[in-house]
């Protein structure tokens, strides 16, 4: 079984500035890391190959330094990976990103399962997975909590649908986006890191793709334009509950009910 995981390099911190002219995140000079949600996708893929056999590859789109997330995935157990990198891809929104990734996947090989994280911590759109599936004409399930079985060319998954969990059967090849916190991603191995060779990481650019219409990529291929990005307001409100243990317990219960935590 061949599994491909889509991953992304994101800023290491939430305090990221936005270019006022383009509405694009300023990534230069900022420490970066792998999108934390992608770690759950990689762990899911590795668990599947441990159980059913096969290999895991990864793919990412970004500047050449995005190579480091491929290396990180290899340190976790992936066989190798591809970086889709070209100036023409810069400034892409979800649509252009999904299109570029789908073009890249077509050039990377045939896969039984493509796994994405739920969303990224920089864009937070949670749309790229579904759109890649659409461009590749693959069936797709989002918010996957677990893979229960794979047999007879089908995979049985459970997926969160807010107030309920659905169990679904999906035909292979397919694309799934996994929810956050569904597993504990393994740590990257220093031992493996030392053994990484150049041939494990491939670079693809615009010239390698089938679709040579430049207007389908990057800023010009984007259907949307980000006007402003800002971190959510921080809430430092503190509420202290006084009274006897019984009164405190009652008030705490009423409070968490009021804000619908139970």
């Amino acid at each position: 079984m061949k599994i491909l995981v889509c991953i992304k390099q994101v800023p290491g911190s939430t305090n990221v500035e936005v270019d006022p002219n383009t509405g694009v995140l300023k990534r230069d000079g900022i420490q970066s890391k792998m999108n934390p949600y992608d770690l759950y996708a990689i762990e899911t893929a590795l668990n599947l190959t441990e159980k059913f056999g096969g290999t895991v590859d990864v793919i990412t789109m970004g500047p050449p330094q995005a190579k480091s997330v491929i290396e990180e995935a290899i340190c976790m157990g992936a066989k190798g990976g591809t970086v889709l990198s070209d100036r023409k891809f810069a400034g892409a929104d979800v649509l252009a990103t999904a299109y570029t990734v789908s073009q890249g996947i077509k050039k990377t090989g045939d896969f039984d399962i493509i796994i994405c994280g739920k969303q990224t911590t920089d864009g937070d759109t949670a749309q790229v997975g579904a759109e890649v599936a659409e461009f590749l004409n693959l069936p797709n399930v989002a918010n996957v909590l677990s893979v229960k079985d794979i047999s007879d060319g089908k995979m049985v998954v459970t997926a969160s649908q807010d107030d309920k969990v659905a169990e679904m059967s999906i035909k292979l090849p397919c694309l799934i986006s996994v929810d956050g916190d569904i597993n504990t991603p393994r740590l990257p191995s220093y031992k493996v890191k030392k053994g990484i060779t150049d041939d494990m990481i491939k670079f693809l650019s615009f010239d390698d793709f089938d679709d040579q219409n430049v207007n389908n990529y990057g800023l010009s291929g984007s259907a949307t334009n980000v006007e402003r990005i800002f971190p959510p307001e921080k809430n430092n409100e503190k509420h202290s509950i006084e009274g006897t243990p019984q009164q405190q317990a009652d008030e705490l219960y009423n409070l968490i009910r009021r804000i619908k935590l139970v």
Binding site: P36, N183, T184, R186, L187, S189, Y190, K191, K193, P245
Partner: protein, 464 residues
Amino acid sequence: MYNKLTSEDIKKLIEIVGEENVITGESISADYAHDELGTVKKMPDVLVRVTKTEEISKIMALAWERVIPVTVRGSGTGLVGAAVPVCGGILLETTKMNKILELDSDNLTVTVQPGVLLMELAAFVEENDFLYPPDPGEKSATIGGNISTNAGGMRAVKYGVTRDYVRALTVVMPNGEIVKLGAKVAKNSSGYSLKDLVVGSEGTLCIITEAVLDIIPLPKISLSLLVPFKDMKSAIEAVPKIFRSKVTPTAIEYMSRDTILFAEDYLGKKFPDKKNEAYILLTFDGNTETQVNEDMNTVAQLCLEIGAVDVYIVDTEERKKAVWSARGAFLEAIKASTTEMDECDVVVPVNKIDEFIRFTHKLAEQTGVRIPSFGHAGDGNLHIYICRDKLSDAEWEKVLEECFDKMYKKAEELGGLVSGEHGIGYAKKGYLKNQLGDLPINVMKGIKKVFDEKNILNPEKVCF
């Protein structure tokens, strides 16, 4: 010997702190009779919540005049009964004195009241790009408690312990006088260091009401390595070799697979790796990625050469959280795995840790009780827990005595001491006496007498 509190005394206490801060009789929660470990139990006659140095001064003047015992309590997270009012009397709670008074970036100090929690102080200084280096596992402990026990924590390997960061203290003497010890200066050769005597005195000499603490610029980069070994012996043996490589990690912790499994159960979260018997967890910090990576590479390479199964990189916030949250929960996790437990916080020379741990394993075999442990491999401070499980009262008492006697004896034999960071309090004073002998104990008693002639402050603790 001590006078009982009268209604007249209660009236005076109410005049000092207000009615809402004086709690008596059944209105006092049973939690105030014990600390975190709960083996020492005694209710106070009155619980008084204080907010100011002056209030404490007035209360002590009253207690001094009336000869009423006073015990100070912070969050009650101690493990040796130091904050338990074993003679009854007044229990003075400092948690309402929880203000951070000043951040002095010229002198690199932060001034705090004693009820500030360690986690609050850590978060505050970090927001301002500073670090308060002492990092004991119990983040909800108060700074007053940390100073009183000279708490150590995980970063002791590189940065030292609480005492190294206390520059000045404002204290209330047992007779109510307010005194300032130390000063906001970097050097001090001005007579006996009373400030250092108060640090670690477990609330027996005077009451800390304000502290000036050192801070350092926050290191910009920090990362950890989780290093699995096939057994505890190889894991612990790696530690002196790491020191010999001349790299100083910020922390070196050791943990066994068993303890990790308890933490998983307790937190309901899986640990990133548990295929191996033993692990050491190292942290490196510094101001440049190049320097931290260089240290990390030296140690990672060395660990592989001396037989580590692998070296896992813990570099992002998420990974640090997954690993360190488990480490932070070990005490609670072991507690949750048994019916009752007692602990031993010995400290031995770093190159004797392996021998001590092997000794505890043998002891567990001989006595038939579970003795899980974890601790600070980098500074020789071990946390060893004796679990009661299904033992009867009589069996428990017997086994506890046997295990403690043997472990403290072994620690002494290896050149170690009774407590690395939890203190002596009430529970461990017999072991301290056994180890130190008459002369040092009598000197301690003499010091106590100079501070507190009437012996009203936290009586029956440490050296009594």
